[in-house]
């Protein structure tokens, strides 16, 4: 039923132009960027970095906004030509952190609210209920739903308004990890099926790493840079209060149920990485899928000889490409074929082992040092 929703035509990537400079009470928001809206673009920043304000400006909810916002040729606001398209006419959807379902309407009526105001809409409530796995909750009172269910209704309602751009403002930050993983999968799948560009805000790097292809990194009201996800996360390693990590995508090779492990493989080498067994269906239909993973630098150790008598399952050979000394520890960047790994070791070890650029080393990390929101679709949605 949902297959026919997939847009087969090659759609040109729309460009969002934002050029604003506004002084708020606590910070200045100064942005002058063109953002390619392809797939899900993540926005990362600490709280107070201005990311929510940026989304509210794009949505048209900040009336004082000074500057220009446009999508392709359509000017949404421009204080030079005195244009301001009201939020209700922007064809932009916004999913709030606090769901904002209308408490006087049930699930179906909340969805119908959007349909009624979208005369040209092509999606039906039934289709969207199926996409968001809400069919069984159709006539429930929204106040009786769980946090994850509420956000699914909120997502369904936003989709039914058929926006040209969907903004998500930390929609799942209040949910537990398992529910969040489920929601992220739903959003990712819907994005691919309906081909709606999305801007997704979060202060969780792992969440963004799982869902976004591109990341916008913001701090103190400015966009620091826009880059492909893994690259953007590695650049964040230079910031003091962010834990240093390796971000990479590997394909699922096999599920080793007897050992409680799943094996991931690199595209370019025969190396493998093992992590705790992922939830999977009996057909193992996820084999070959790319899994975004994160390995914290503090979980990776370095050995100058091949560790043959170790319990640690992940061992990769590489060469040191960079050494960054800190006050008490050093970040060693090890190049294993095409992939960079970040390892954090004590200065004492770095000195004792006489680590140097180009030195061949082995990196080691345990299976449960590999973190990911697992991909496999739960077989029942109860």
């Amino acid at each position: 039923m949902t297959e026919n929703l997939v847009s087969t035509a090659a759609v040109k990537t729309p460009i969002l132009g934002v050029s604003i400079d506004i002084a708020f009470e606590h910070f200045n928001l100064a942005i002058n960027h063109s953002i390619e809206l392809s797939g899900i673009v993540g926005i990362f920043g600490q709280s107070g970095s201005g990311k929510s304000t940026l989304l509210r400006i794009i949505a048209g909810l900040e009336k004082c906004a000074n500057g220009k916002v446009s999508i392709e040729n359509r000017v949404l606001q421009d204080n030079v030509s005195n244009t301001f398209i009201k939020p209700e006419n922007r064809e932009i959807g916004l999913i709030f952190q606090d769901n904002r379902l209308f408490p006087h309407l049930n699930v179906y009526e909340n969805l119908a609210y959007a349909v009624k105001r979208t005369p040209q809409g092509k999606l039906s409530i039934e289709q969207v209920l199926e996409l968001t796995q809400l069919a069984e909750l159709k006539y429930q009172d929204v106040t009786s739903l769980s946090g994850g269910e509420k956000q699914r209704v909120s997502l369904a309602r936003a989709l039914l308004a058929e926006p040209r751009l969907l903004l998500l403002d930390e929609p799942f930050s209040a949910l537990d990890k398992k529910t969040k993983a489920h929601m992220l999968q739903i959003v990712k799948k819907i994005q691919q099926q309906l081909n709606i560009p999305m801007l997704y805000i979060s202060h969780s790097i792992s969440e963004l790493q799982f869902i976004a292809k591109q990341l916008i990194i913001m701090s103190s009201g400015k966009i620091d840079y826009i880059a492909p996800t893994h690259q953007a996360i590695h650049r964040l390693n230079n910031i003091d209060d962010i834990a240093v990590k390796t971000s990479l995508s590997l394909s699922i090779a096999e599920h080793l149920a007897d050992f409680g492990l799943t094996r991931l493989s690199f595209a370019d080498t025969s190396n493998s990485v093992y992590l705790p067994l992922l939830e999977h269906d009996s057909k193992q239909s996820d084999i070959g899928q790319l899994l975004p993973c994160i390995i914290y630098a503090r979980d990776i150790s370095i050995s100058t000889t091949k560790p043959e008598h170790s319990s640690i399952v992940n061992q990769l050979a590489g060469n040191i490409s960079e050494i960054n000394q800190g006050a008490t520890s050093a970040i060693i960047i090890v190049q294993c074929s095409q992939q960079k790994f970040y390892a954090q070791i004590s200065l004492w070890s770095a000195t004792r082992m006489e680590l140097a650029i180009d030195l061949p080393v082995y990196i080691q990390f345990k299976a449960n040092a590999v973190h990911s929101f697992h991909l496999t679709e739960p077989t029942n949605h109860a």
């Binding site: 939020p87 106040t143 308004a161």
Partner: protein, 234 residues
Amino acid sequence: MTNTAADILALTTTLKMAAITTVILLVIGTPLAWCLANMKSRFKVVFEAIVALPLVLPPTVLGFYLLLAFSPQSLPGQLWQTATGSQLAFSFSAIVIGSVFYSLPFVVQPLQKAFEQLGEQYLEAAAMLGAGPLDRFFSIVFPLTKASFITAAALGFAHTVGEFGVVLMIGGNIPGETRVLSIALFDHVEAFNYSNAHVLSAGLLVSSLILLSSVYLLGGKFNRRSVAKKVLKS
């Protein structure tokens, strides 16, 4: 006319006055309450004080100024006379206008409080789904603040029924026109006609009690429901 017939006429005049006043108050009180709820100016308190004035002023003060304004010598009175061909002071229209001023805070205050509590969140969500301002008012604001509309209307109505001073100053005592229950009661007492006075007093007392009880009952029901919803939501 017998005393009873006169009292029934006073009752219908009162009900008519209160009903028309309540409708007018809802029509002008709602946008006024909305403006006050969303006003960010530091002069907001001044406007709030103006709306609240009838709560503390003796009704005769309000009545006195309205009487001056309604007289054919003053501009409002003249404009009215040119427009309608009849005098404004001592007319049914005069006591309705007087009542609107007099009962304004009873309608505006509960609505303003309800609008302030409702906040922006649902309205922003509705706007993002394509609802314009009027649409948002009728599809979101009104259903979520229904209890306060009922309270506001009932308080406005009950307070207008109980009005005495303003009517006396600007309406006089014309049967079928401006002679309302409170004035009929005053007449009975002046004439030592205590049995009729008892009927009117007890009648007003009991009907006001019933009206207010039903308001609190309804308001309680609605509020409990919306409170429960808020708690569940968070």
